[in-house]
């Protein structure tokens, strides 16, 4: 186990290094890039940048310095805002985004799994059809349309929730739901098909032949096995929630990292783009590792140590 995690950490560092390198060089070749210094910048920022990146030095020196700084968890100053560093932006925006993301993941998993289980247990009856109609809607309606829809009906028309901003728990409900809708629908379908597959398995018949009740069979034999694919989906789910939050945070005026990221792209705030990209990559790599470890714990057939499926 420890050996496996160590190995994975090495791979993670390697991927991270590639991502940092790619971001660095993409930024260099992007038109109007910060290192070409062809734009006229306020003198304070120019000074900051010079100090930070050593723009007068050759590219390999710049690259090396950037790597060292990132290794020290220093993403540099903003390109746009005086006296603000990328670290400040992350420290300020990430807790908000994290809360929103967690809420969305919770909704997506809890509701999605529940819908999927109900649909499978009532296969080809009305609860199944209802759940699957909800799922198809969830998958086919993009989150930004869902967001406007929720804002219009639940906030403006009915006044149950606030329209936008980030002040209380009530403020977080609509954005979390909008963010969760597509992955939730996907999880519902995944759970349903996986449940149906498990239910058709011989070992369910074995369980029944032992005289176990339907409830016990569902909980102890069916759901646990059916949730394995859902656990695998947690990695892509995290990525989906991350990218989804860019749009949703903008729509709801939430001061999260996603909103900052979008703003920084609009402003061509290169250092922020680079810093946040790297930060997101770390987040994603860590969550994928966590998912893999969780999977190895849940499914005894996966041997983490060997990294291979044991047969």
């Amino acid at each position: 186990m420890a050996k496996y995690i160590g190995k994975r950490l090495v791979y993670m560092l390697l991927s991270l290094w590639m991502i940092v390198t790619a971001t660095f060089f993409f930024m260099r070749i992007a038109p109007g890039n910060p290192f070409a210094s062809e734009k006229k910048l306020p003198p304070e920022i120019e000074a900051n940048l010079n100090a930070h990146f050593g723009l007068d030095k050759p590219w390999y020196a710049q690259y090396w310095e950037y790597l060292v700084r990132i290794a020290n968890w220093d993403f540099g100053p903003s390109f746009k805002y005086k006296s603000q560093t990328v670290n400040d932006l992350i420290n300020e925006g990430f807790p908000v985004s994290f809360l929103l993301g967690m809420e969305a993941i919770f909704i997506a998993v809890a509701v999605g799994v529940l819908l999927g289980i109900i649909a499978a247990l009532k296969h080809n009856r009305w609860p199944d059809y209802t759940a699957m109609i909800v799922a198809v809607l969830g998958i086919s309606v993009p989150s930004f349309i869902m967001a406007s829809f929720l804002q219009y009906f639940l906030a403006i028309k009915m006044g149950i929730f606030p329209v936008a901003r980030w002040e209380s728990f009530m403020h977080s409900v609509l954005p979390a739901v909008a963010l969760a809708s597509t992955p939730m629908a996907f999880i519902a379908r995944l759970t349903r098909s996986s449940m149906l597959e498990v239910l058709a398995n011989d070992y369910i018949k074995t369980a029944k032949s032992k005289g176990l009740s339907r409830g016990v069979i569902t909980v102890k034999h069916t759901i646990r096995n059916a949730l394995l694919p859902v656990v695998t989906y947690m990695g892509p789910l995290t990525a989906g929630i991350l990218t989804g939050s860019f749009v949703i945070e903008r729509i709801f005026g939430i001061p999260g990292l996603g909103a900052h990221f979008v703003t920084s792209i609009n402003n061509r705030d290169y250092t922020v783009i680079m810093g946040v990209t790297v930060f997101y990559s770390i987040l994603l790599l860590v969550s994928i590792l966590l998912v893999d470890i969780a999977y190895g714990i849940i499914d005894p057939r996966i041997k983490l140590a060997g990294g291979k499926k044991g047969e």
């Binding site: 032949s209 032992k210 034999h221 096995n225 047969e311």
Partner: protein, 355 residues
Amino acid sequence: MEKLLEVKNLEVSFQTYGGTVKAVRGVSFDLHKGETLAIVGESGSGKSVTSQSIMKLIPMPPGRISGGQILLNGDDIVPKTEKQMEKIRGKEISMIFQDPMTSLNPTMRVGNQIMEVLIKHQNMTKTDGKNRAVELLRLVGIPMPEKRVNQYPHEFSGGMRQRAMIAIALAANPKLLIADEPTTALDVTIQAQILELMKDLQNKMDTSIIFITHDLGVVANVADRVAVMYAGQIVEMGTVDEIFYDPRHPYTWGLLASMPSLENDDKAELAAIPGTPPDLTNPPKGDAFAARNQYALAIDFEEEPPMFQISETHFAKTWLLHPDAPKVEPPEAVKRRMRQLSSTFENPVLVKEGK
């Protein structure tokens, strides 16, 4: 001997998009305490459906027991509810399935899968259940049971998984054990070991067994009596000797002729039965076997044959036993093994339709 199980005129059908599949069409047999009945027949002949009906394990819907009775100790289980069946399954009747690779839950420890039965039916505590599970694993011949009890199915070999399945099935001392092709998925040596184990445990526990197989070679080893199934019906039933040495039904002849044996190894006509079983959505008029039967008479395409009784224990459902039927010779491979059995009646007796 006392009768444990009586199946009377059982009919099972499945509602499918293509229509109603009549998978079991009037099956009757009984089973005594401590006896082993083998059910043989081609794929799709309704062996599994028949046996799963006895535990009401067929999926309902689309399945339905559309007629007949299943008496367990004289008590009909057909009208029983699911809740009532839970007290019978695993306790009175239990089942071993064909593929030990898929019939155990892959994410549950083997010990827990045995304990479930003990906790449910014998009101054992977890600790007692665990100790008993270790004992059971030892009983079915699994080495180091204290260690194995905590392992997962994928850590067991195929033969050991089937042993574990047997431990699960026998955990609550059931009166009837149904084994649905328990050795088909295993290689020959393991097969023999599992059969030996089952016979051994049957003697110890005095369980009755219904043994389903399409391998007649296995039957001679394990069974007291044999029922031959074709297209959802029992077409011949008798003791092992009667079926092997005095078969009367052309389908049984076909099965015996297609069975490899040591005596007639070299290129002797290992005759496969020609054709395929009929579509059970629309069973043909007359005898379901007529189209594949080289001995078929004109009447076979018109009217279903009744059951004839050849001895106290031997029954066959074919027009060939009718007094007016022409005398026919069974295939060479079968004739060679034919013997005159002392218990045979002078003339076949017509018994009522469906016995």
